[in-house]
Symmetry: D2
Subunit: 457 residues, 4 copies
């Protein structure tokens, strides 16, 4: 059992099983960096408030900075005997400065530290994921740039609908990821960093002292983020909304990834056969020697369970909790870290994956022979050029297709005489012009087809 | 069976059970108003594109405006025989203008209509809920204003923690609702209204024509909302992210309500007995004559299941859906409407409920006699005024409390001699000053206690 | 405002909005039948306990039986002014027998009624859904019987894996539904019907009197269900576990339906083209005249959101509720009814849908030409007949396939000389025998292929 | 990169990031024991089928048994370089027996292994958790036995309802846990252990050979579980229903724990003050020296998020997956292991916690003075002994209580004259008899109060 930050009033020792059960250091060590931030700002505030002498403050900050360096160098190993990361760091400081460490936690509560740490973690991760989503979006856009005038097939209901350009298909994804970036950006901007909420009501140190210490720290660390005023300590301590918000955004991103995965899985089946997937992201079968499976895509699709589950977890945990802090809230960290880390991995690999996809143009070309893909264009032509009422045009084309299917006769092989039986204005010559991929795409005038505005940061 | 907007290629009639099963008019009628908006803008675009003559357009718009008036007057009754609201309105127009109605749906797809309708619904409801949350926040603030210098008890772990002012407690809620308003506002601003996506690839009508018609409509209807450019039709048709976003925000609001309900339920138990709940929101028991139950609060708390369930529903439905439109997406409406309507009801009643709560000051006064509530203040005093290291101060007070409990002796009754055994600087005179509610609150210097900026709209 | 079953201690009238908000009659009227059962058993118990005279009891039972008849004839219309179905029935009785009705609710609590009503509803619906799942399973089995020796393709990772018989494919579904029936059956058998729990602690009436009245009712109504002993009233009143259990089973069934839907959607794409879907369960597009969309299947897949959401709703609502009854529990009914009704509809239509599917044998035949489908059989042959170590055989076939792909040369066209370069024992003659669908299926000796034991009830 | 069980057809090496991303050995190592079972049965079947010589089989089984011993002794360390536990074990065998290991995986697929392993894991864990739930139930029953005739207060709506015995309260929990045991037991009995499904269609080895080998293994290992027939390999490979079932049961158990936690948290507040919680399961505050927080209970309540989230995760992952195996299904393991391990820990500690609770009888006694707790008994008395119609009795008592509250006069202090004004039959003498805890409890005749049948296994 390691030293605790509490205990004067307790007579009995903590139960061993419960101690293990209640520990969080095995995951909250990920917040070590931000906990040091808190300590540094706190020590400065204590010094400004004369609770610490300048010498004491300097000594503590020096030790804290040393630990910070260790963390940033990836050399920090948490002590599994500790209750949480706060206690772990407290103990480390004590080992270095002895008695003086007992003043570090003056007028401070872990309730304040943890919400501080988590917000800052969210801020850093939000920015980081924003960059990775951008990179994926750019990978998609670059793919589109290379695809030139390649055609593709647009689906609704997983049924062939209309001909599109491959770049339009890819730009749809770019738009999706662009919006995700915006969401992440708004989230980060909305995060309000505060300090000094104490256990729940604030502390005896002045808000101006905290503010000054925090701003000084931000400047020293070159962090472009404005510091917020602590209006209400009860609110600050009770608040885990930012985690719900973050996990909601990550759920949206995950949903997008699952849809992309589904599309790509379909396009790489033997039956669609539009995509040749990059082999280095596929695996084989231990029994069936011929298999090349889209495992990465399946895992991405499947991970939706985990990411949604994490959102549901934090929402459920927060349901009906009385103000302010309750120990239940410790359980916000595992779902947060799990979703952040998982989505990051997926996004990074997906960017590489997208680059590796090869469009099987021959197969697309073959599929484009399907005359039904032009049904909408024929109807639109009748309406715009021949003034046929739309419902009539729709019916005419529907019947034409049924006839073509029943008689197994291609529309392009029907002459004016046959076509006339469907509608007097239907002409073979017109159909020939209409029934090309280029016409299908060029005839769409309602879309701007602007390049999605994704910028590397 | 009512008229359908499709069917030329079909030989068999639709199965009766399936027809019922697949209908959405029984709920999507709620979008009628927005569907008319779409039709009006669409007709103007068709006229500008010479698909309709000015006379035809005028006739159609006149009929559509008539239906709109009916809807706004609350007199619109949907036709349960129809497949969906789009078909219902199409049929109504047909009844009025006959053949001409067949041109209304020219170059238009329900895929475009539905996403247009839903976004506009979200916009209106987002604004509306924002107002209601604001009203609740204001009710809370007004309650605080009336509470003057009333004291209250702050809890952590549902255990008494420190003394707070009742207005600080209420302001915490106001901060929460203020943030919810911000979320709703950001959501509404982020909604991009577009038109002309067709089934999935756009239409033959020019984007400039759509844009002009839309802006004209916004002006006529005095709607302050800028119109967005349709960049990518595939994206627009595939998109239900705004519904996930909205339901995420509503889940947060619901979580807040559930926490408020839990607090109020606790405070109204016979055991806490801090609140007298407004009787008109409570019910009795059919068997136990003495009961006065906090039913409203319990229902609010319980409704968390519904609101979270709705979020999970839309997320699950969207998981792994290939681009672009799939019929699965029809099922976005029920959870959307359910959450919007439920949360609105709760918020409205909660504002009245809050006004009706009476603080039982006598009982609070009694509770404030609990000396443990001053433990933190004593420790803080030792640190700030007597330069005791915090961990030592914490231990000293912990032991003092244990002693007081074990000996059943009040701290205020201990003299300097006794107090000295805990720490030489502990004096009865100091404790007397410290152990008052006013001192507890005034000694907190780290919070600004600013009035939450909620403004009626 | 309608008459309430409580209110003596209240001074203020209920708030109108709250009254509407808290009403449940608009959905719990579905329990009317079971609420009458409770009343009949209760009246008999009261009579046996001399609280009612035989005449009074007879009069009440006669009125109750009249209402029951109405309900069963589908003629019962709930009174929307009532708070809940219990109050509604109480009022009806009062209208018929006047003052005597005031004795009906003697020593009885709605807490007891509602759990009684819901359990019985679950029992009836559990049995009913069991029958419908069975019917779907039988539809599948009958389809298999008709499919004779039709071949099909088995997939893993949505990639072609091995050749199977179509009946094996269908039998897999039958096994799934068979298990679902077993789950429903176990659920129904586990339901313990009890009465007499009062508000939470039981009543002054003897358990023997309840037991006798209940058994008499079961006999009269010819219900084969044994009556359970009420061990602990607190448990009975607190319990909603049976609803969670039921919704868990329905979630499993829904998951199965979503997987079936996904398979069928895939098989009916233009690209797979294995299934011709029954047109009467498909719909078209309002813009694209050629579309025939698998809407039923998509709706089934999409409804997974609703059914999972309902499970999550009840679980969330029950989280952290103190014993015994809390008003939150009123909210168990909407998700229960929603899942029951939705799953029933889906199952019923799916049975018709399955019957209407046509296997496109020509397309399957074409697909079977894909030699990779025999890769596993070749490897197995090498292992079982030629004593090649499995990992070696797996490698050999993997390379053979890669060679065949790279050189665009069919394996069946390779002679012994070529084959020898992969492994000395590989012979063209053997491969010819192995590479047939019949061999592929017949060579599987580890499965019993027993007819799934689904029996109509 | 470690050796793979596949790869002959692949030209490119697996991407490093993807390899890490797709690994499962870091969690599926927990299935090592069961994977050895599969291998042992499989080797016996191969020997019986003459694919292996008796000597080869013996050698393999000897090596496998060695690894098994290591696992059971807790000395097994998985190799993080491996893809999964199947590959890890394969590699170990290869290190010991060289070439011969290449025959181990003959005619076997990881698809078959993994479902086999997971089912067996569920079986063992289901039995184990059953024992732990039983132990908790017994702890509750023993507590009840010791509580003798202690009284307690029953709540509805978190409002005082009626007087109960403390053992009745505890027995309610025992009933809940008893049911949970039954669910676990049914689940274990329903698990069908099978082998030989191959990748999806079965293998060339005879079902009789598998059956014999499996039964022999069960006998050797003294496992009392009958072996099931493999009817349909597609079904077996596709199936993860048992995991959903298990996680549903664990969600129910978790929900019960969250309710127990909530009750205990309430009872240990300063305001209720009915329970003295065992200090060794509580923690203090780093800032507030007086705090003794019910952390264990809060963590239990909060963990509901995790357990529900895990259920939601597996359900979401399985939604819409086509038959048969998809890589998504790899993601079933983390939620499974997480819920199993978490719930076990909670249950174990809760049993100790329950033992440590002390009922504060003095405080209960004080609370029992609340006369409203007898309201129901008075009404019941009027009905059963004085033949007052129930609704009238209910009203009378309601008014009596209102009067008592308004006038601040105790009912026991009212004389017949006053009482008569409420109802002529109300007598002070009767009320004196009725208004005792013993009468309240003894007057309940409808419950059997049987000892919950929990038996240590």
């Amino acid at each position: 059992m390691s030293k605790k930050l509490w205990g004067g009033r307790f007579k009995k020792k903590i139960d061993k099983d419960f101690e293990e059960f209640s520990k969080s250091v095995q995951y909250d060590y990920k917040l070590a960096e931000y906990d040091i931030y808190h300590s540094i700002i706190h020590v400065s505030t204590l010094a400004a408030s004369k609770i610490l002498t300048p010498q004491e403050a300097q000594k503590l900050i020096s030790v804290l900075s040393g630990i910070l360096k260790e963390i940033r160098a990836g050399k920090f190993k948490y002590d599994p005997a500790c209750e949480d990361i706060h206690s772990d760091i407290q103990n480390r400081v004590e080992k270095k400065v002895g008695e003086l460490a007992l003043k570090l936690h003056s007028l401070r509560s872990r309730n304040d530290q943890i919400v501080f740490d988590e917000k800052w973690y969210c801020l850093d991760q939000g920015i980081d994921i924003g960059k990775i989503v951008t990179a994926l979006g750019i990978a998609v856009v670059e793919k589109a740039a290379k695809s030139g005038k390649d055609f593709f097939i647009g689906y609704t209901h997983t049924q062939r609908a209309q001909i599109i350009s491959f770049s339009d298909y890819l730009y749809a994804w770019a738009e999706i990821f662009l919006k995700d970036c915006k969401r992440l950006n708004d989230f980060c901007e909305g995060l309000e960093l505060v300090i000094g909420a104490g256990a729940l009501t604030g502390t005896a140190l002045k808000k101006e002292a905290y503010q000054k210490a925090a701003e000084q720290f931000l400047r020293a660390d070159k962090i472009k983020k404005s510091w917020s005023v602590l209006n209400n300590a009860l609110f600050t301590i009770s608040d885990r909304d930012f985690i719900v918000e973050f996990l909601s955004i990550l759920s949206l991103i995950q949903m997008h990834l699952s849809r992309m995965a589904e599309d790509f899985i379909l396009y790489s089946t033997k039956e669609f056969d539009f995509f040749d997937l990059p082999e280095e992201f596929c695996t084989g079968s231990s029994l069936m020697p011929h298999k090349k499976n889209p495992d990465f895509l399946e895992l991405v699709r499947g991970l939706t369970g985990k990411i949604y589950g994490n959102l549901m977890a934090i929402l459920t945990t927060m349901k009906g909790l009385p103000l302010t802090y309750n120990r239940d809230m410790q359980l916000d960290k595992e779902p947060l870290f799990s979703s952040v880390e998982t989505v990051k991995e997926e996004l990074k690999i997906m960017a590489k994956f997208v680059k590796g996809i090869k469009l099987k143009k021959e197969n697309i070309k073959e599929a484009l022979k399907d005359e039904q893909l032009y049904a909408t264009e024929i109807a639109e032509f009748l309406v715009t050029k021949k003034k046929v009422a739309f419902k009539e045009a729709h019916d005419v084309v529907g019947k034409l297709i049924r006839y073509s299917e029943d008689k197994k006769k291609k529309i392009e092989d029907m002459d004016d005489l046959v076509l006339k039986t469907f509608h007097p204005v239907l002409k073979a010559g017109d159909l020939k012009k209409i029934m090309t991929p280029k016409y299908a795409i060029d005839s769409k005038k309602s879309v701007s087809r602007a390049l999605p505005k994704l910028k590397k940061k």
